[in-house]
Symmetry: C2
Subunit: 379 residues, 2 copies
């Protein structure tokens, strides 16, 4: 496992405009849109070595590298993407984007609504995983990529990968679906709705037009994130990290931080509430709720997967209780029933759902091996 | 299972005043206090047939029966307590109370603070499971009960049962501990803190003195309850009940109720926010967080249990992920290691944590059998 190598170094995002109208699943049409994108590595002459990275709920285009010399943080998947890393930028041309509806530069609630001249806010259309796939296909066209060597995504990103492989089967050679699910469970939807209600009922939400009131629904977003965070971590992992450790050695009999885990969660919530857009959070959770590719095929996932031409790699993590291994088994079973090519890796990890962002050894090794195969096909 | 019989009928709560000061774990002293109590059945001459029911987070004294002829709802454990039921009111004298700090008539945040002449609100002292046991011991004294035939509690109620058996061992003949845990896990504490933060940051909370502002922190309490509710139900149970059932047959692309589970949760939250006191909710969750009987014994649960004289009955439910069967195993293992008498029942149920309030057959049968033994000892 000493294969891990360097960083892609300094990177620069680019904003790409798409002037052709995009019809959306909800019946609305985006007359034009922009996507914030980063790329790493070189697209080969045959344009056959491109990998698309689809991001999860709070992700974006900045996947790897740094934006300036003193940048404290690298991209969100810097451990996976770079020279000599599993998604090897010396072999692949890697594309990261901020999805439509995002808050990191792509067209979304923070963009100016041409009709009003003010930010869209809550008026930005509710986009879905299918809409993202269509917008990402425009991005592939922009780069002249007819077929992705691989599309890779964790969590909500894995859902985009699946939808791509179903909707545009000839354009995906490998579908890498990590810590994902073929649709949300009732409990998943329930947690999402509590998060949304926290935001929607925050008095500073102002029906989603908080920017006009020069405020932010920080309280609601903070609560949503704190709760979300619990579901991203495993019970074991949380216990291992914080246990019942006390901040001041003894009970304080007040509502300040008593247990260290409280401090951690509040900090995560505070930080997120400052940097993430609440309208984006809302619509991302709806995209999760609405993802259900089998619903177009009489609720038969096998039939939905029948269209797939890609070879599939599915990975899950033992302590992920948001999208448990059982949810990946559903995917794998349906792929096998549809007689598709699938490899499955179940990783022992105490990192819960967040494990897809971590470096558990079996996971990294599995990704190395699979992507090495993908790269060799290209060469 | 046709043993289930009638209701205790119409019942009347009584408010009992205790004029002797109660020192609390946090160092404060309650100069006097009142407990709202209901009793069912007859105390025998030897006063040996009394059962104490300890309630969970949102419970109270009204355990069984109705308050008036047109009462739509019976007490919260009416399926367990009544003539011919497992806790048989023809054999036992059953005592239910609202705990100190509650909002159903006992001394708590809604009571008048003698110092200010206004409701305590946030100034009501933070009480603990130990404090509750001491206040309940006063109640036992009031009735002249030297030893409870049994103390019975589910969830936070089971914690009170354990604390009784440890702190006042000679006063408990049987300890019935249902769907409980020897202390909260990190994840349990994390969920509690998110719930508290939702309440504490609600602009209508006013540092806990909302009554002076003639308002209620409904938003925060609603979010806390919605989230709590998810943790009370099993993933299976939620899925079984609501699945991905849509309110209007199709996606609505808005934030109103789309999935039926959203309607259910919001309704539960709305209802709770109208009837429950936020300060009580806060302090009850802290009592949960702080419960940790082993902490007085160098974190050795076996040593804590060494003091127990009661025979113990422990029950857990397969799909309870708030206090999973594994948490009950910890209790059972420590009791066995301490060479105490313990019976353990693990019930297959899809009701999650709430199963302790439900009527899964093995559970009811187990409770019948155990309490029949308790009753026969008395007779």
């Amino acid at each position: 496992m000493n294969k891990k190598s360097g960083s892609v170094g300094l990177v620069k995002p680019q904003l790409i405009a798409f002037e052709e109208a995009l019809p959306l699943q909800n019946g609305q049409v985006l007359p034009r849109f922009e996507l914030m994108v980063e790329t790493y590595g070189q697209l080969n002459a045959a344009k056959s070595n491109a990998i698309l990275i689809c991001h999860a709920l709070s992700g974006h285009h900045h996947v790897a590298g740094k934006h300036h010399e003193n940048d404290k943080h690298s991209g969100w998947w810097d451990n996976m993407v770079g020279p000599g890393k599993p998604i090897d930028t010396e072999r692949f041309f890697v594309v990261g984007l901020n999805n439509l509806g995002g808050c990191h530069g792509s067209s979304g609630p923070l963009s100016i609504n041409p009709v009003t001249g003010k930010p869209y806010g809550a008026d930005f259309p509710m986009v879905t995983v299918k809409d993202w796939v269509h917008s990402q296909a425009r991005l592939a066209d922009y780069f002249g990529i007819e077929q992705w060597a691989a599309i890779v995504g964790g969590s909500l990103g894995g859902m985009q990968t699946m939808q791509w492989a179903i909707d545009l089967p000839e354009r995906v050679r490998h579908a890498i679906i990590i810590a994902s699910a073929p649709k949300l469970s009732t409990q998943n939807i329930a947690f999402n709705d509590v998060a949304r209600q926290a935001i929607l009922t925050d008095p500073d939400f102002h029906a989603g037009h908080y920017s006009e009131y020069e405020t932010l629904p920080r309280r609601g977003l903070r609560i949503a994130r704190m709760m979300g965070h619990i579901t991203y971590l495993s019970e074991d992992g949380l216990g291992h990290k914080f246990g019942r450790q006390l901040r001041h050695g003894d009970y304080q009999f007040n509502y300040d931080v008593n247990f260290e885990v409280e401090s951690y969660l509040r900090y995560q919530g505070d930080k997120f509430a400052e940097i993430f857009d609440a309208n984006t959070y809302l619509l991302m959770t709806k995209a999760l709720d609405y993802f259900d590719p089998a619903s177009d095929y009489q609720d038969c996932l096998q039939d939905a997967f029948q269209r797939i031409q890609a070879q599939c790699f599915v990975a899950s993590f033992s302590t992920d209780w948001r999208f448990s291994p059982e949810r990946s088994h559903e995917i794998v079973r349906a792929l096998i029933a549809a007689e598709k090519s699938v490899q499955y890796l179940e990783v022992q990890s105490h990192h819960g759902h967040d494990a897809f962002l971590m470096e558990d050894e079996a996971y990294m090794r599995g990704m190395y091996a699979y992507l090495d195969k993908v790269a060799k096909e290209v060469a």
